[in-house]
């Protein structure tokens, strides 16, 4: 048995890590990510969607999908920028090259757009090298179709 000197102090610090602030840290992280996360999405244009029953989910990563809005008068919007149809090829070609030829163009056309404009758009996309195209539609229910 050892003898203790009269002036030696006993350490009173706890050996446990305090866990009471863990909840606050979790909530702070949660709130930080909720506030700071921004999804790169373009604004929706006011179009009337075409409807299709056989429409399937686009099988491609979100970053490889380029939304191309086409309004009834033939105005094109890509990434919130307005373009004319004959500019599409010049706009899409660099984006296609950036994506390592993996780009899928989702055409969001107004249902009343004359097909002539849609055909011009397809020609522009082909000349930019883009061949994978999706005609984006809303899902149509069978009931709706029968009523039509």
């Amino acid at each position: 048995m050892g003898t203790k000197g009269g002036f030696e102090k006993k350490s009173k610090a706890a050996a446990d890590i305090p866990g009471s602030s863990l909840a606050d840290i979790a909530f702070l992280l949660l709130i930080f990510f909720m506030v700071s996360t921004a999804f790169p999405r373009d604004r929706d244009r006011p179009i009337t969607w075409a409807e299709a029953e056989a429409a399937k989910k686009i099988d491609e990563k979100q970053k490889n999908i380029l939304n191309l809005w086409m309004q009834r008068d033939g105005t094109i919007y890509i990434n919130d920028q307005r373009y004319e149809i004959d500019q599409v090829s010049n706009v899409v070609a660099p984006l296609y090259a950036q994506s390592n030829q993996g780009l899928v163009v989702s055409i969001r056309g107004d249902r009343e757009t004359p097909y002539r404009l849609m055909d011009q758009l397809q020609t522009e996309l082909v000349s930019a090298g883009v061949v994978r195209v999706v005609f984006a539609t809303r899902l149509e229910q069978r009931m709706q179709r029968e009523r039509r």
Partner: protein
Amino acid sequence: MLGMKKQRVSGEVPVASTADIAFLLLIFFLTSTNFPKDNGLAVVLPESSETVEVSQKNILHLVIQASGIVEVKWGESPQAQRMRADRIEGLWRQEVAANPDLIAAVETHPDAPYRYMIDVLDALHAANAERISLQVLEM
């Protein structure tokens, strides 16, 4: 009073499990969140240099008029059958069973609204058609 026990229940709400609740919520939302994906009809356009000669007997012409009526023509035959877009699904299944090499040539009138083409394309997709060519009707 004598014999009465002193109550020893703590007045505080226990907070030790708040962290667990926060993490559970976090994990629940992380796993259950799914971002809405677009629906659509996928088409592969032909490359600009790509021209393929196809025998007329392997082509089913679907001519969409500006009114939305579809005229169906078989190869070079001058006869046309007029029908609504919703009948094309059945027609395609029937035709492709007879000729598996059949190609659907969808020719749309330049003034026809885009939705009529979508209706026909929808019917073809519903019938699992794979060989589809989209053209504008030459006037």
